[in-house]
Symmetry: C2
Subunit: 579 residues, 2 copies
């Protein structure tokens, strides 16, 4: 039976506990949000002794279900002040699940500033002094672990920003080649890891008992249905949009829709979009050769392969992966159209251990405040050095978009619940704005990706500039997403399962096959809704209610070119989200 | 009839309006909180175009009622995010009232960073370009105005911190000698003034029609009763505690009670207390001679005279006034026991235009973060230079206690609703802690000064370490205080009116004499409660509810020496405050 590992950083004790009955059949976001709700006082200081970090594989992680290698990390967010669930694709949750663990629960605090490495094995684990890793970049930390431990171990590390308790810090999970580059990025969970003095976790998966599904045949049937759907949908198939250009395929698409936030959300169109587009990334991969490749993957069992490796001019590896969100945030949003500068900014973020979305929003606001000119890539790279050197400016920037804006009295701050907005302009794509406003996570596109029907004509169509029916649209997406996050599925499977019914059946069958449950289609939204309300309830207790389900005021009175729309969904409409 | 002056910073228009019926008979905090509630959207950005600054004399300001020269400033606070009312003693409200104005309402924004001076006269007023004053210290700005305009004009100026939109900035009103040193200090209203491009307001009181009380005789009777009470009470009489030692008389008293927060609220006892006490200030005044004096006053008509002037060794003026809160915050709370260092820090705060309480709490947290050693006065003075030079560190410190703590991941941050705590340790004096937690203003001692019965045995006695009956005690004090803030009375009249019934009668008779009302004793708490609920309602709409009526978490688990008490009033007891 699945177990839970409890790690107390104050006492350095690691204990294995049977999984409580109420947590059985849960996983991923469902389980992490449940444990956080049960064990973390909503009003605690996020960096104090009473916050916890919960790491849970999805229900299907470790099985052969396609694209099910997502790991969920939960805790109280030092960025938003509310509950946080961030997830990443990595071999980590697959190995953790195969070792028989449903979750790691990290609690307490190290008081003396020392750094520790947690080694987890099938008998539990131990905390090992890791002061030699203190201050080291995420990449170097990951490399050292990859070399020191046997058998290509999966791991997660904290970068220098998290050590410094900066709230834009994420947690860097390993990819299949041992890069510390798959981020549970949002909401500052790296700062929580830092507050606990935990530099890294490495999984020694020797003697892992593996996964024992309740109904192997049903699981297999579902796997095949889902894989077939993924491999036949234009967005996700081999040679399809994501596989050919990576997620960065969206740069040109959003730019054409007038929804690519540019220069700190001053416009929906970026003149230099083409230069930082997925097409440009693919062209560079072809031209420079060497390490540069498209169609990379973040975890074994992924059949989409949308990740990328970007090469230097000489063909040596520069950084993996260059994603749409990062290219947008550190590119268009800062007016930077030099792809090498943007790639370097992504590398810096990865090595510092910070969320690229939050970093790009922060630099955009810093530029708005006059700290640098929009478009100045070198100035942006220097800001990364400030964070690394922990200068006062680094301590401002490291705390994110809202904080940086407040430091300089900026009124145009693109955040919800203090979290920087992702790569879709809500004034130009209203449904995603509803997701930003209402998500329990703060501004977050993955929480309810209405871009599918609004921009990509997947799962039907919905006019992006219209406010009609956007509350219900976002709610439906958020419910389903919460379920997928529980299952451990990558949200990109949403594209095929929205359009291909057998793919959706495959999702339900894989879960039922794994758990022995008999969930039906309705249960997907029911369970998703249950997860959202659990999180919402935590937020209410933390003092984050409907008054925080709000878009930044400037978007209500400032028209966005080229469509010249303001944010026009009324607050009471937003409030109906929870009715 | 009283009028209202509306100043639009966007259009530069100044208009005089008749006072709306609903505002008649209101004044001070009552009126400023009403106008803010009516005109400012609770969810607006405090530094954006939709916030307003309301400046209102008290109901009695301008009359001969003793100690009635308080001016109320209201707006949405950029520090707390809620409603803010800060008041100061100054000739300003006296002259404003005599000119026939019930309030100034400043709205809109200057977009180009230019600075303006508002000259108000009996016909309205005008905005005058004041770029020559940009960046100038509050003192220099005040001096220039005092010299340039005739007839010893009352004024209010904004310092460099407010210009830079730093949220610890207050507004510096003139004292009777033209010093820009009487602060509506708390909650960052100087930053609001700065966001509006308003450097100063000067009153040209020529041809002021004066005050026309409804019942001159009743007003006179009340005045005499109140003056007699003030002048016969030990705390407020000539040669009494406040007159002899200033407010700083409290340093030794609180230290002996174990309630003087020391080294960022790590202890309730400060070894160096004696050196920064009121006794030490009085001794310096006597020894150094020259400008150094006790028994100074902040506005004509004050019969307590608790203000002080501190001199340099050579007898030249160093700074006025050295108050208890400032000596504590910049002294004990930072472990600094050098009175000249503390006086210099106060001068710097005054010249920068920042709140001394917020500044001292901020430096305390910065020391906690390791930016300087506790006790290092010179390092603290250097921090003031960072603010003046608008360095990145200055931009951190300038945003206050909570912000500075967050920048460095500090968990021991002594704030409520993001506002730094005043000079009374809530773990050692529980009633004042209830006031900190529940006040609509954030941590604020003046909102409900339960120190009177808890420490000074004024208005009865209440055991400071006991949590018994503290909710009701704080509520009664907060109600009464809100009424006094409406009347324009200094809160120090609370001492005599708590102990001497005729003094309390005098308060009611002066208000009735002025307005022609027939308020009774019960109306004082009724009106006070009405004001509080008005403010609370604004806060609720701004997303600040009971979850923000909370003490910092560390005070719940960290015992405070010497009494080793934690904060033990439960959250649901705090919630009963509003029942």
């Amino acid at each position: 039976m699945a177990k839970l590992v409890r790690i107390n950083m104050s006492t350095k004790k690691v204990t294995v506990e049977p999984l409580p009955e109420k947590y059985k059949g849960k996983g991923g976001r469902w389980l992490s949000s449940l444990i956080v709700s049960d064990e973390v006082p909503a009003d605690c200081h996020p960096l104090g002794p009473n916050n916890k970090l919960v790491i849970a594989p999805g229900i299907l992680s470790g099985t052969r279900a396609p694209n099910s290698g997502r790991v969920s990390v939960g805790g109280k967010s030092p960025l938003t002040g509310g509950i946080k669930e961030a997830n990443a694709g990595s071999p980590f949750p697959q190995n953790l699940a195969r070792m028989g663990y449903a979750a790691l629960v990290i609690e307490g605090l190290v008081e003396d500033g020392s750094q520790w490495l947690l080694k987890v094995d099938v008998n539990g684990g131990e905390l090992i002094p890791a002061d030699d890793l203190a201050g080291k970049g995420a990449y170097e930390t990951g490399h050292k672990i990859w070399e020191k431990y046997e058998d290509k171990p999966a791991f997660v590390v904290n970068g220098p920003a998290g050590e410094a308790k900066m709230t834009m810090a994420g947690m860097a999970f390993s990819d299949p080649e041992g890069r510390a580059a798959r981020y549970a990025g949002r909401g500052g969970l790296g700062a929580v890891m830092g507050s606990k003095g935990l530099k890294a976790i490495v999984l020694d998966h020797k003697d892992a008992p593996g996964i024992k599904p309740a109904d192997q045949e049903l699981l297999k049937t579902g796997q095949k249905k889902l894989a077939d759907a993924i491999l036949s949908h234009d967005v996700t198939k081999k040679g399809g949009a994501l596989n050919s250009y990576g997620t960065a395929v969206l740069i040109n698409i959003l730019n054409e829709a007038g929804g690519l936030p540019t220069n700190n959300f001053r416009s929906g169109v970026f003149e230099g979009a083409q230069k930082i587009s997925g097409e440009a990334v693919a062209e560079a991969a072809q031209k420079r050769g060497g390490a540069g490749t498209m169609g990379h993957r973040c975890h074994p069992g992924c059949v989409i392969n949308c990740s990328t490796v970007y090469a230097n001019e000489d063909g040596s590896e520069h950084v993996s992966s260059v994603e749409y969100e990062s290219l947008w945030s550190l590119g268009a949003n800062c007016g930077i159209d030099n792809l090498d500068h943007v790639a370097e900014l992504i590398w810096q973020c990865n090595d510092l251990g910070i969320d690229t979305i939050e970093a790009g929003c922060t630099i955009g606001v810093a530029m708005e405040a006059g700290l640098a000119e929009f478009g100045d890539g070198e100035a942006a790279i220097k800001m990364m050095e400030e964070i690394r050197n922990r200068t006062p400016l680094g301590h401002i920037l490291g705390q994110g978009t809202q904080f940086t804006g407040e430091a300089y009295g900026v009124t145009r701050i693109p955040t919800v619940k203090r979290q920087g907005m992702p790569a879709y302009e809500p004034r130009a794509v209203k449904g995603i704005g509803v997701t930003y406003a209402t998500s329990t996570m703060g501004a977050d596109h993955t929480a309810g990706y209405t871009i599918a029907p609004e921009i990509l004509s997947v799962g039907g169509t919905s006019e992006p500039l219209s406010k009609k029916d956007k509350i219900g649209l976002s709610k439906a997406f958020q419910d389903t997403t919460a379920f997928l996050d529980a299952a451990g599925y990558c949200i990109f499977i949403a594209f095929p399962i929205l359009d291909i019914e057998s793919g959706f059946e495959g999702v339900i069958e894989t879960v039922n096959g794994m758990l022995g449950t008999s969930y039906k289609a309705d249960d997907v939204t029911r369970i998703g809704d249950e997860i959202l309300r659990l999180e919402r309830n935590f937020n209410l207790k933390a003092g984050i209610g409907k008054e925080q389900d709000r878009m930044p005021e400037f978007m209500k009175y400032e028209k966005l070119p080229p469509h010249n729309h303001v944010w026009d969904i009324e607050d009471d409409e937003l409030d109906s989200f929870w009715d």
